[in-house]
């Protein structure tokens, strides 16, 4: 096991990609703190992992609630939980009947909500864990970006695309600031992955997208979590500020 004695936080961990990341990290021996706002889904997720004898804890938390996030992080410090790994996975991509809003119709409150979940929350968690990681001289932060942050978004709205590009710039800069403390900060940018978020798009939208994917299929949450696990492993010790694109070739970096 590669991550014995490590403590990891995964946001948006109740289902989909986030759940699979939590599962992989805990399978490798890490103690994983699963964070999600969906209480019943989260408790099911934790039950599933507990049944597999994994070391997991759950925290019901709305990541857009700055105060709640900060008091969660304070609580970690007080209880002396030393976080080694942070996976900023929680994200939203609002659609109307399976189709994105065009930019001139995006309400400002929706814009702000997307920025809060997809960008401000990763900032708050990163800010909160950096001092812990600096003390240890070791840390791994992985932000889940998107192919929508790499090229014009085909399915998600412009707010989602803006946050996913922003995460890449954020990661690069944090990586350059904290490399000297043995902390790496990288992104995984998934393309179309079988998940609840992907299912929100109409079949027509999905088909049009898949036609452009060289490997000709959607990825699975496992394809994404494998890349995340790799970035958390010793094998990726010399990679920082990078973005690993897990997209079947639709965007080639």
């Amino acid at each position: 096991m590669q991550l014995t004695d490590k403590v990891a936080i995964v946001t948006g961990a109740a289902r989909g990609i986030g759940f699979d990341i939590a599962s992989k990290l805990s399978e490798e021996g890490a103690t994983v703190l699963l964070i999600d706002k969906e209480e019943s889904e989260l408790s099911k997720a934790v039950q599933l992992l507990t049944n597999l004898k994994r070391n997991v804890q759950s925290y019901v938390l709305d990541v857009t609630d700055d105060f709640a996030v900060m008091s969660f992080l304070d609580q970690l410090r007080e209880s002396n939980i030393k976080v080694d790994i942070l996976i900023n996975n929680a994200g939203i991509s609002p659609k109307v009947d399976g189709v994105r809003r065009e930019t001139h119709t995006i309400p400002i409150n929706e814009w702000e909500q997307v920025l809060k979940v997809n960008l401000t929350a990763p900032f708050l968690f990163t800010k909160g864990v950096l001092p812990i990681m600096m003390e240890k001289g070791w840390g791994r932060i992985v932000n889940i970006s998107s192919v929508a942050g790499r090229q014009a978004s085909k399915i998600a709205g412009s707010h989602y695309a803006a946050t996913k590009s922003a995460l890449i710039g954020f990661s690069r800069t944090v990586a350059s600031e904290y490399g000297k403390y043995g902390i790496t900060v990288n992104n995984v940018a998934p393309g179309r992955i079988e998940s609840k978020m992907a299912e929100m798009a109409t079949e027509q939208v999905a088909e049009n997208f898949l036609r452009q994917v060289p490997l000709g299929k959607s990825g699975t949450p496992q394809d994404v979590s494998s890349a995340v696990l790799f970035l958390c492993s010793e094998g990726a010790n010399y990679i920082t500020g990078a973005t690993i694109d897990v997209n079947g070739g639709i965007y080639m970096n």
Partner: protein
């Protein structure tokens, strides 16, 4: 990754020294049958000699990538021996350095013959076998120097050669995607190989490199092995046409 490579057949070019040697050692130690190819058979035999305790067969083989019939013969040898090729690490390359105004036709042609033409025909030859198998992973070795140029660090022909490898990676990824053959590249920064160590004899050069590397260190064998094994494994099945920079963060600055 565990035992995924046991029984797999891995061919590494330029494996007698440097990064190629380390990558070959990584696959051999992971249990793969590993074919150590290089222009200097003695060096390859040395590398293979040190790996005879490994679970898979480790075989040295003379192959000059500028000699198309040697490439074909090597493929035939591998097929006769193992009936398949699972991973090609297309690593052989020259790292000669000259300013543009000092480049003559001979220098240009020699660099191009190894770094571009050789790399292409190796990928084509082994790729044809993978296409026939409907499976395989090609890992090209490009360089941080294929992405960016810093003040005082231009090496025009090498920069051009590695830029060509980047586009070759994407074009082959697209063409081979329908045959379930993934093509990706690794872009190393500074690693502690022979030619780099020679340059670091000058402490000023070493200091400059360390200062411009966020992680503040030079890459070692396991740093390149981790990414090569990841890209050679099923963990990266949904990743194709990508370049992963293993450079301590150099290319983000």
């Amino acid at each position: 990754m565990n035992d995924e490579f046991i029984g797999k057949v891995v061919v590494v070019t330029g494996a007698g020294t440097g990064l190629g040697r380390w990558i070959a050692e990584g696959f051999a130690k992971a249990g793969a049958h590993t074919i150590i190819t290089g222009i200097n058979l003695d060096e390859c035999m040395d590398v293979a000699g040190g790996l005879q305790e490994c679970q898979g067969k480790v075989i040295a083989r003379q192959m000059d990538v500028t000699n198309l019939s040697e490439i074909k013969d090597t493929l035939q040898f591998v097929i006769d021996e193992f009936s398949r090729v699972d991973v090609l690490v297309n690593n052989a390359g020259l790292v000669w350095k000259r300013k543009a105004l000092e480049v003559d036709e001979e220098f240009f042609d020699q660099m191009n013959a190894v770094n571009v033409k050789g790399a292409f025909f190796v990928a084509q030859t082994f790729g044809a076998q993978m296409v026939q198998q409907q499976s395989g992973k090609i890992i090209n070795i490009t360089s941080a120097a294929g992405k960016l140029i810093r003040k005082g660090l231009a090496n025009p022909i090498y920069n051009m050669n590695k830029g060509a490898i980047n586009m070759m990676t994407k074009a082959l990824a697209e063409e081979f995607s329908q045959y379930h053959v993934n093509v990706n590249a690794i872009g190393p920064g500074y690693f502690e190989t022979g030619p780099v160590k020679e340059r670091f004899v000058n402490p000023a050069v070493y200091e400059t490199v360390i200062e411009s590397t966020p992680l503040g260190k030079i890459g070692q064998a396991d740093d390149i092995q981790g990414t090569a094994l990841f890209l050679g494994s099923k963990l990266s099945d949904f990743i194709t046409g990508q370049i992963i920079y293993v450079d301590g963060g150099r290319t983000i600055l």
